[in-house]
Assembly symmetry: C2
Homo-oligomer: 395 residues x 2
């Protein structure tokens, strides 16, 4: 063909992180079949516990409704059923945030929202933390935006702040609790960010996919900070809260107060979704509603507590060893400094070959991740305890 394609795709770099991990594990198992049998995986970024019983019942009931002429439902509303938008609004209300249901847009996943939100934006400079979830970067490379990185490091506890950034009308991505570092912005730090955005006319795209892991006084939502409704879009998901990685449901808050150049982001996103999206499967929306019901949320929180106990086991061990880390308390991720100045991949090989424990090299999440390593709490209790026993001996 002689059509023009999106040339920005030429600027994407291939991510070899997970394929490289798979390759090294495979080769090790081939070389050391007996030890290969003992491998424990603490690199999993996906949930492993099944859906909560209340969620399963609600979804089954909805599937049966779809099989009955008197209760069958066709096209869902593009923005989500009212029952789910209202359930999400009540969820926000439970930590003191008032979001009108019409500012909530239900979708099939946080990745879709993070990726698609760039559709309504113009040619702004985009600031992306490093290390971070790679979709922020790739979706902006695809749309040809100018990208600056905001480094996370030991000094700022992997919580980059806007100090020294000189901009007007830029776009900032923040993720809290962060993937991969597990670091969480407290109220004060988030207030600095919101004030900075308001002062510079910038937009914050706030990814709160891990908010269910937050406890105590730490903010679940950027809208806990005054003024955020004028400068922030928030993307959240049922994936980690309710184990929906395979069930697929998320939401995005685009406040009516978010305006620029006389245009309303809420109206633009409404139009984008009505044009390019046809809503989420009805049984999935009923499942998501059940996950936020008192019974469902209670069951989901038991799963979160299970993962958090795994995270505690890992971080208690690091405390005992005096290895510095972020995360682990309000996040399923533990982000540790590789001991003895090892690089991310050196440490990966060291753990694989000496302890048969697989984690994720931090360098795969951005250049500031070099020298760091991610362990996750999504494995089983037995696997986590066994891995820690081996690391205890090794390190």
């Amino acid at each position: 063909m002689k059509i023009k394609l999106n040339d920005n795709y030429r600027n994407l770099s291939e991510s070899y992180l997970f394929s490289e991990i798979a390759r090294r594990v495979r080769e090790y198992k081939e070389a050391e079949p007996e030890k290969g049998e003992r491998i424990v995986r603490l690199g999993i970024g996906d949930v492993t516990l099944p859906l909560a019983p209340a969620v399963v019942s609600a979804m089954e009931a909805a599937v049966r409704e779809m099989g009955d002429a008197s209760t069958f439902r066709g096209y869902p509303p593009e923005y989500g059923y009212d029952f789910l938008r209202e359930a999400i609004a009540s969820h926000y209300a439970s930590f003191g945030v008032k979001i009108p249901p019409e500012d909530i847009f239900v979708s099939d996943g946080a990745k879709s929202d993070v990726g698609n939100i760039v559709d309504i934006l113009g040619d702004n400079t985009v600031y992306i933390p490093d290390p971070v979830y790679p979709v922020y970067l790739d979706s902006n490379v695809m749309s040809g935006r100018r990208i600056e990185f905001i480094p996370g490091n030991e000094k700022n506890g992997f919580l980059p702040m806007p100090d020294g950034i000189n901009c007007e009308g830029a776009v900032f991505y923040l993720c809290s609790p962060n993937n991969p570092t597990g670091a969480v912005y407290d109220r004060e730090k988030l207030r600095v960010w919101v004030d900075f955005a308001l002062r510079t006319g910038s937009l914050i795209i706030f990814d709160s996919a891990y908010e269910a892991f937050v406890t105590g006084d730490l903010p679940h939502s950027i809208y806990e900070i005054e003024g955020a409704e004028k400068c922030a879009v928030e993307i959240c998901s049922f994936s980690k809260t309710a184990g929906f990685t395979g069930t697929r449901c998320a939401w995005c808050v685009v406040p009516s107060a978010a305006m620029s150049g006389g245009m309303s982001l809420n109206k633009m996103w409404r139009r984008r979704q009505a044009t390019k999206f046809n809503g989420v499967s009805y049984p999935v929306q009923r499942a998501a509603e059940a996950a936020l019901s008192p019974e469902g949320l209670g069951q989901c929180m038991e799963n979160i507590a299970y993962y958090m106990e795994n995270a505690r086991i890992i971080s208690d061990f690091l405390d005992r060893k005096g290895i510095s880390y972020t995360g682990g308390r309000y996040s399923p991720y533990v982000w540790l400094k590789c001991p003895d100045g090892m690089s991310s991949w050196e440490f990966f090989d060291y753990l694989l070959t000496k302890a048969q424990v697989v984690g994720t090299p931090g360098e795969g999440f951005g250049s500031c991740g070099e020298g760091y390593f991610r362990l996750t709490s999504f494995g089983s209790r037995e696997g986590t305890e066994e891995a820690v026993r081996r690391l205890e001996e090794l390190l």
Copy 2:
């Protein structure tokens, strides 16, 4: 804020079609409450029959799997599970088309694919039939493309052809069976289009969402035409085939042979989906697989036969009256010329007030739709027969 937004959104025109229909119906019901009770709707573009029993069973079983630790599934593959890609490939094979499963991308809806496919394209001139499904136009306005219309009319039977179009490397949308006209390209006409695309280096985006309504020798897929794998992307859906408008599953074929400027559309779409999409809900994919099983497809085809009988009742009536129309035989849509030179909206009001029958004014699908009217077969048998009885008396 002072960020730049996507200014192309300013060029979108609001569609008042369905809200205007709703307003006129509401006002009529208020003015004539008794007659308002008699209203029959033949304007529905959504399916109304429930999911097939085989589909419901498969989806229920998959939901139960998600509730059990030993069968739970996390993130699905972004491109769809192999079991579903293979089922779709077999579906193509059933009408003689060979598509490798890796060229098939499972998604949550044809609207998503139609809307998102522009992400991988560059700044080409886009040709869109008129009248047609409005997403082709709006998604290209959003991305600031230069748009030309290809008029459908009585002369070409609402099957626009490339005669007289002078272009190199352009993008063409085709929809067959067409929404709203119900017109279907036969093999010869489609061959002309494919040859034209190959000759001019153009891309055809072929929307085959209504292929299940096609019988006999008419093509179900553009890939029935030789060479199409080099110049066409095809978007299809379970929405109409299996009544999935509320269940949400579709697919897109991006052949490995489709290349331009050394770039592979398949690889670009793969990257786009991996970055901005996280796959379709596992129970939904199992439901879709069941819809293509011999048992499920048989049940779905009974539903299609029900709608087609409704379409036959409408088109037989138009034949008796000598009113010219397209569609109705291989499509759920019947597209008729408004009698006595009435405009689309005049005819709408005439049917509403004289017969209490609601359809869709053709003008809402593009300026070439003025003077035409869409009736659909997605209502009940009783409603369709009653509507035709009233139209028989009126016209």
